[in-house]
C-alpha cells in the first residue's frame, strides 16, 4: 500500500456512522505512545508531556534536530524552543552546541522545557555530564566522522577512522556502558542509515538499543528540495517493524525523512513507527519571504534583531498547530481508512 496523497482524504460526512463511532482519538490510536508507554527503560525521550494549546490531550510523536544542526544563534534557539515547547516536540542535540557554552539562566530554562536527546558520535569520549540532563542518548552510527583536531591540511581532508569499535560484538557492551553511565534510567538509541535494513535493524536490536532512528532522507542545507533519499521509506519502515516484531523486543523505531504533511506522517505512524522527525516539515513551512532569502534554515537568522525577536519564529507555531490538526483529522478518519482507499 502506497503512502496516501492529499487527494485520498475525504470529508467527515462521507464516512459511515459506524466508522465514526469506531474512531478513537489520536492519543489511543498511535501505538500506545500517548498513554505513557514504557519507553525503553522507562523515560519518555521523544514524547511530550504537555497539553497542547489546542485544548485537547493529543501528544504528537515529534522530534527535531533543527536546534542542534542548523547552527542557530542562542537567542533564536531559545525562541524556537519556546515555540516548540507547547507542542512537546523533543529535540536532538547537545545543550552545549551552537556556541552557547555558558547559557544564561533563561536559556537554561528553555533547555529544560523539552526532553532532549543527547547525540553522541561513535568516536566521541563519553561525557557523564552530557548524559545527566538528557532524556535519552543516541549513538550516531552513520556518516563518516571527521577529525576535529586536524593539524595539517592533509589531515583535514582525511576521514577519521571509526577506530574505537573494531568489532561489532563490542557494540552490545558499548550500549551497556552507556546505560551504566546514564544511571540505567535513560533509553539508549542509535542513528542509522539503512542499508540491508532487516539485518541491520535486527542486529542493532540484539545489541540492546531501546530505539533506532532511521535516517531515510539526508537534506543538504536543511532544504527539503535538495534531499537525498537513501532508501525506500515504505520498505525501510516495513522491514524495520518486521525486524522488531521478529525479535520480540520493545525497541522503538523513529524515522527521519522528508515528510511534508500530516497524512504521510500518519501513514508512517500507522505502519508502526513510534515517532517522526518534523525537520523537513518545518523547513518547508517557512514563509516565502524568509525562505527566499537563503537556502538554509539558518537564513531565518539573517533578518533577526533582538528587538523583533518574536517575529521570525511565529510561523513555527502556526505550522505546528496546522500539522497537529491534520494528524488529528487523519486519526479520526482512520477507522474507515481501507474503505476510503477503495473509493
Amino acid at each position: 500500500m502506497s503512502l496516501p496523497s492529499n487527494s485520498d482524504s475525504k470529508p467527515a460526512k462521507s464516512l459511515t456512522q459506524q466508522a465514526i463511532q469506531s474512531c478513537e482519538p489520536l492519543v489511543s490510536r498511535i501505538d500506545s505512545l500517548g498513554r505513557g508507554i514504557e519507553f525503553g527503560t522507562g523515560i519518555e525521550c521523544h514524547l511530550f508531556a504537555k497539553k497542547s494549546d489546542l485544548g485537547s490531550t493529543q501528544y504528537p510523536p515529534f522530534f527535531t534536530r533543527l536546534t542542534s544542526d542548523a547552527g542557530l544563534a542562542v537567542q533564536i534557539k531559545r525562541q524556537l524552543l519556546a515555540e516548540l515547547s507547547p507542542f512537546g516536540v523533543a529535540w536532538v542535540g547537545d545543550a552545549m552546541s551552537s556556541g552557547d557554552r555558558k547559557p544564561d539562566e533563561s536559556a537554561e530554562e528553555s533547555f529544560r522545557l523539552l526532553p532532549r536527546i543527547a547525540s553522541l558520535q561513535l568516536d566521541e569520549p563519553l561525557d557523564v555530564a552530557l548524559f545527566e540532563q538528557a532524556a535519552a542518548i543516541e549513538l550516531q552510527l552513520c556518516g563518516i566522522p571527521f577529525q576535529s583536531f586536524a593539524n595539517s591540511r592533509r589531515a583535514r581532508w582525511t576521514p577519521g577512522l571509526p577506530v574505537e569499535i573494531a568489532e561489532f560484538e563490542q557494540l552490545e557492551k558499548r550500549v551497556g556502558v552507556l546505560r551504566v553511565l546514564s544511571g540505567g534510567k535513560r533509553p539508549i538509541g542509535a542513528l542509522v542509515s539503512p542499508a540491508v535494513v532487516y539485518e541491520d535493524v535486527r542486529f542493532l536490536i540484539d545489541s540492546g538499543f531501546d530505539f533506532l532512528t532511521l535516517l531515510v532522507d539526508v537534506q543538504f542545507g536543511m532544504s527539503s528540495k535538495s534531499s537525498l533519499r537513501l532508501a525506500s521509506l515504505e520498505a525501510t519502515i516495513e522491514q524495520s517493524v518486521k525486524a522488531v516484531e521478529d525479535s520480540g523486543a520493545n525497541t522503538k523505531i523513529l524515522v527521519s525523512a522528508n515528510l511534508l504533511d500530516g497524512l504521510h506522517m500518519f501513514r508512517c505512524l500507522q505502519m508502526g513507527v513510534s515517532a517522526i522527525s518534523i525537520d523537513a516539515f518545518l523547513v518547508n513551512s517557512k514563509p516565502k519571504e524568509i525562505a527566499a532569502a537563503k537556502e538554509t534554515f539558518g537564513s531565518v537568522l539573517s533578518a533577526y534583531t533582538p528587538s523583533s525577536a518574536s517575529a521570525p519564529m511565529a510561523w513555527v507555531r502556526s505550522a505546528l498547530t496546522h500539522l497537529i490538526e491534520e494528524l488529528n483529522d487523519c486519526a479520526t478518519y482512520a477507522g474507515d481508512w481501507s474503505a476510503m482507499s477503495d473509493k
Binding site: P125, A155, L181
Partner: protein, 258 residues
C-alpha cells in the same frame, strides 16, 4: 621513608585518613576541626561485588553528600563496567581483576587495581590516575582526554586508540595497532610493540623502549630531546616505575606542518 608511606597508602588507607584527621585535630582548635568536618565530611564506601552491581555503586556515589575519600571494591571477579562514571573519588582500590569498560569516564582521583583489566579500560578518562598491577586487554585508554593510565604488565591491541590528551604508560609490551588514530597525548611502551605502530596517528607522541614489529608510515622516528627525557621521567615517576628516559625512541606524526 617513601616506601613506608606508600605501604601505608596501599594497605591502611582508612588508618591514613584517620591520621590526617588526627593531624588536623592536633593543629587546629576544636571549633575549626568541627567546621572542617562539617563542611567536608569524609565518606567511605565498601562494595562487595558478589552482592552489588556496578550500577548500584554509581548510584550510591551520586547520592553521597560530601567528599568520597575512599571506595573499596572487593570480589570484582572480572565483572564488566566496574567503576564506570567514578568522579571526584579521592582513592579507589579494587581487589581482583575487572572486565571490560572498567573505570570508564573516570576523573579526578586515583584508582589502583590489584589484578588485570579487560577491554576498553579507562575509556574516556578525563583526569586522575589509574594504576593496573596486572595486564590490560585491548583498547586501553581509548579516547582518553586527560589523566594518566599506568599498566605494570602488558597491554593488548590498539592501546591508546583515539587518544585525545591522556598519558598512558605500559611497562611491558603492547599488541598491534598501538596508538591507532591518536590525536594528542603520550603513549610510553617499556617493552616492544606489535604491527602497525601509530597507524592513523595525527598528533601526540609515542615513546618505545623495545622494538616494533612494524611501524606505520603515519609516524616517523625523531631525535630524543631533553624535554622528551623529562616527560618520560616525570610520567615514570608518577607511575612508580623505575625506568629512565634515555633508552627510549620517539615517534611523532609525519604530517605535522612545522
Amino acid at each position: 621513608m617513601a616506601r613506608n608511606s606508600e605501604w601505608i597508602r596501599q594497605n591502611e588507607p582508612t588508618r591514613l585518613t584517620s591520621r590526617v584527621n588526627a593531624f588536623i585535630a592536633a593543629r587546629c582548635s576544636p571549633l575549626v576541626v568541627a567546621l572542617i568536618m562539617e563542611n567536608h565530611p569524609e565518606i567511605t564506601h565498601h562494595f562487595d561485588l558478589e552482592t552489588t552491581i556496578p550500577l548500584e555503586m554509581l548510584a550510591a556515589l551520586r547520592q553521597s553528600q560530601g567528599v568520597v575519600s575512599l571506595v573499596n571494591i572487593v570480589n570484582a571477579n572480572g565483572q564488566d563496567f566496574i567503576g564506570c562514571g567514578f568522579r571526584e573519588v579521592t582513592e579507589t582500590i579494587v581487589k581482583g581483576s575487572i572486565g571490560d569498560f572498567g573505570l570508564c569516564s573516570f576523573g579526578d582521583g586515583e584508582c589502583k587495581i590489584s589484578g588485570s583489566v579487560g577491554d576498553f579500560f579507562g575509556h574516556s578518562i578525563s583526569s586522575g590516575v589509574l594504576v593496573v598491577r596486572g595486564n590490560a586487554k585491548h583498547s586501553l585508554g581509548a579516547l582518553g582526554a586527560g589523566g594518566l593510565i599506568s599498566v605494570y604488565g602488558d597491554a593488548g591491541n590498539r592501546a591508546g586508540v583515539g587518544l585525545q590528551g591522556a598519558d598512558i604508560v605500559v611497562r611491558g609490551s603492547v599488541g598491534s595497532l598501538a596508538g591507532l588514530g591518536m590525536q594528542s597525548g603520550t603513549l610510553i611502551v617499556g617493552g616492544s610493540a606489535g604491527k602497525d605502530l601509530g597507524k592513523g596517528l595525527s598528533g601526540g607522541t609515542i615513546y618505545i623502549r623495545g622494538e616494533a614489529e612494524s611501524i606505520s608510515p603515519d609516524i616517523e622516528e625523531q631525535r630524543l630531546r631533553e624535554p622528551d627525557r623529562l616527560k618520560i621521567g616525570m610520567l615514570m615517576l608518577k607511575s612508580n616505575i623505575s625506568l629512565t628516559g634515555k633508552e627510549f625512541r620517539v615517534f611523532r606524526s609525519t604530517h605535522i606542518e612545522t
